[in-house]
């Protein structure tokens, strides 16, 4: 497959009164053609900085970027016609109508104004096209932003939090739209915090933390690479669940006790569980691996899982902890 978007070794440093802060610290990303690619990261991890840098709004300190095979920002003016983008919250001049807003953008980009109503129809704003943008809700502004990005009929669509402010129906419509666009051959780069959505619609993902890529690949690969290694253990009815759990704990297992079962968090070799318990005449009735979802992977890789009694600060992240486990 051809790479539509390539970033390697991207660095962006901000100097402030509190010293130097690396917003991007050698970040890498590749997005293949025709895919819906999820771009994930906690707040302040560098997602928006990456997108702004890619789109020429921020000047990087170092690194290489290419869109549709052309180096940017040097060739950005030539490829901009093929890139539709919304960055962060939708921002429009409030006193103009949606129709005026889009027709002005069409003029700027040399796009036929007849497309304005097509894209407004696509995002469900056709009937409100002649109303001023300042009367729009956040969700409607978000739809307008997506419409503006689609106006160019881009080859690469970059959307930063497109579901922001959308109602559940709107989120579903947006998901369908992304899929349809991808099916039509458009490549979509989607930055979002709604991990369930990303898992549903994305073919591949890149996760960023503290300005660095912590993982990338197809969604299934990423999930497979970061399965928790946990297994759910259910015993025969009437067996002392607490005693069995203590037995495994004494052997080094990380056991979480539930009402009628327990999970072993670091069970890299589940056979050890059955062996240890069977030696004490305790027999397992169910032993199933606990499947990880994207949220688990995200929280694990970015180190942003909530910890009781501790309020995490936005710059507090952890690079992926060493994996491995009990029983190997």
């Amino acid at each position: 497959m051809t790479a539509v978007l390539e970033i390697s070794g991207l660095r962006k440093t901000y100097r402030g009164r509190k010293g130097v802060r690396n917003a991007l610290d050698g970040f890498d990303m590749v997005v293949e053609a025709g895919q819906v690619h999820g771009f994930l990261g906690p707040n302040g991890s560098g997602k928006t900085t990456t997108l702004r840098t890619l789109l020429g709004l921020i000047k990087p300190n170092d690194g290489r970027m290419a869109i549709l095979g052309r180096e940017v920002p040097r060739h950005l003016p030539e490829v901009a016609r093929q890139v539709g983008a919304i960055v962060e919250s939708p921002q429009f001049f409030g006193n103009f109508t949606a129709e005026t807003t889009l027709s002005l953008l069409a003029d700027v980009g040399g796009v036929n104004r007849n497309r304005v109503y097509s894209v407004l129809d696509l995002v469900g704003l056709r009937d409100r096209a002649k109303e001023r943008v300042k009367t729009y809700s956040l969700g409607m502004k978000q739809r307008l932003a997506v419409a503006s990005a689609l106006l160019k009929e881009p080859k690469l669509l970059i959307l930063d939090e497109p579901a922001n402010g959308l109602d559940p129906g709107g989120i579903r419509e947006m998901r369908t739209l992304m899929r349809d666009l991808s099916d039509s051959g458009m490549t979509v780069l989607l930055s979002s915090h709604i991990l369930g959505e990303i898992q549903l619609i994305c073919d591949s993902v890149t996760i960023i933390s503290a300005g660095r890529r912590v993982t990338a690949g197809s969604v299934s690969e990423v999930l497979a690479q970061h399965t928790s290694g946990a297994v759910k253990v259910r015993l025969e009815p009437g067996v002392d669940l607490l005693g069995a759990a203590e037995l495994l704990r004494s052997a080094g297992a990380q056991v979480s006790l539930e009402k009628d079962y327990f999970t072993v968090g670091n069970a890299s070799n589940p056979a050890q569980i059955t062996k240890l318990l069977a030696e004490r005449q305790i027999y397992v009735s169910e032993l199933t691996p606990v499947a990880a979802d994207l949220e688990d992977v995200f929280l694990e890789l970015t180190g942003t899982a909530p910890v009781e009694g501790h309020t995490r600060q936005v710059d507090e992240t952890a690079v992926s902890a060493g994996r491995g486990g009990w029983g190997q």
Partner: protein, 335 residues
């Protein structure tokens, strides 16, 4: 070309532009109407009435002088004696020449003498509007995030800002020329119906044309300054704040220059540059000096600021601010 067309449409569609233009037209119409109603055509009837009024005042003055002389003559030996001169013949007797009938003429609009002031009014009103429209045109764009959208479509910063400025200044020039022509026509009409167009030679019209061109320069500079300051601060309010700040700084510099013994502190005051620009020259006077001559006594020293000096100062400031705004646009991260 498509960018210029889009910016042109954007400028015209903006509500602020429309409201301010209507405001400008109302102010200019009010000045025209005020001039119309406060002047009248002068003919033999008005001259006769003015002569009669001048004569009435002269007769009143003569009667008062005669009364004063009688009181003066009766005053010696009374407490009022100190109020009168020793020789009552020294009391002034008014003459007919003291009561020039032209002082009693109704106001009349003399196109040759008065239109330069009207060009200045026109230039100042339009310059103020140009500053605000220019500041708002780019300031609102920055503030609303529209500039970022624009750059996503056209990632050519200098071209985007330069086109915006060029489109705005082109419209401003066109509008000024159009309104200037209407303004000149209106005052010619006022002069013909409520005043006089006497001595209007081609040279006078040429002089008005040159004053108008200097006014156009002022309007374009004000527009460019408003635009550049708002772009620098990424907000319309930045241009207004800068204007207030420069005003305060000017007062401070003026006061300090005066305290430091600077001979002509007025020359540091930008509004006087504008006067020099619009009226060809402006004369600063040092009232603390004495240039003695046996014929006219003590005359204060003066410094003449020419329109060339005023326009160079104004142009230099405008060019510097516009260049800084362009440089900043090229360098800054857009967040």
């Amino acid at each position: 070309m498509s960018l210029a067309r889009a910016e042109s449409r954007r400028l015209i569609k903006r509500r602020f532009t429309k409201v301010l233009l209507i405001g400008v037209l109302l102010v200019l119409a009010a000045v025209g109407a005020g001039t119309w109603f406060s002047n009248q055509k002068v003919g033999p009837e008005q001259i006769a009435a003015a002569r009669a009024e001048a004569d009435r005042y002269y007769q009143d003055a003569l009667r008062q002088a005669a009364t004063d002389k009688q009181q003066c003559l009766a005053a010696p030996g009374t407490p009022a004696a100190s109020q009168w001169p020793a020789n009552c013949d020294d009391l002034y007797t008014p003459t007919l020449e003291d009561y020039d009938y032209t002082w009693y003429m109704p106001p009349t609009f003399n196109l040759r003498e008065d239109f330069t002031d009207m060009i200045s009014v026109f230039a100042v009103v339009l310059a103020a509007a140009a500053f605000l429209i220019g500041a708002s045109f780019v300031g609102a764009e920055w503030n609303s995030g529209g500039m970022m959208n624009l750059l996503l479509w056209r990632p050519q910063r200098l071209r985007v800002l330069g086109t915006k400025l060029t489109v705005f200044l082109s419209w401003l020039t066109g509008l000024t020329v159009l309104l200037g022509a209407v303004w000149a026509g209106m005052f010619r009409l006022i002069a013909e119906t409520r005043g006089t167009t006497e001595k209007m030679t081609p040279g006078v019209w040429e002089s008005f044309g040159l004053t108008g061109l200097r006014g156009l320069g002022l309007i374009v500079a004000a527009g460019a300054l408003g635009f550049a300051l708002a772009s620098l601060g990424r907000h319309t309010g930045m241009a207004l704040g800068a204007l207030v700040g420069v005003g305060a700084l000017q007062i401070g510099v003026y006061v300090m220059a005066g305290l430091a013994g600077f001979k002509y502190p007025d020359t540091l005051f930008a509004p006087f540059w504008l006067i020099a620009l619009l009226y060809k020259e402006w004369i600063a006077t040092d009232y603390t000096s004495c240039d003695y001559s046996s014929t006219s006594g003590c005359e204060p020293d003066t410094f003449t600021m020419t329109w060339q000096a005023g326009s160079v100062g104004l142009a230099a400031i405008t060019v510097v601010v516009v260049l800084i705004s362009m440089w900043t646009m090229r360098r800054r991260d857009i967040t």
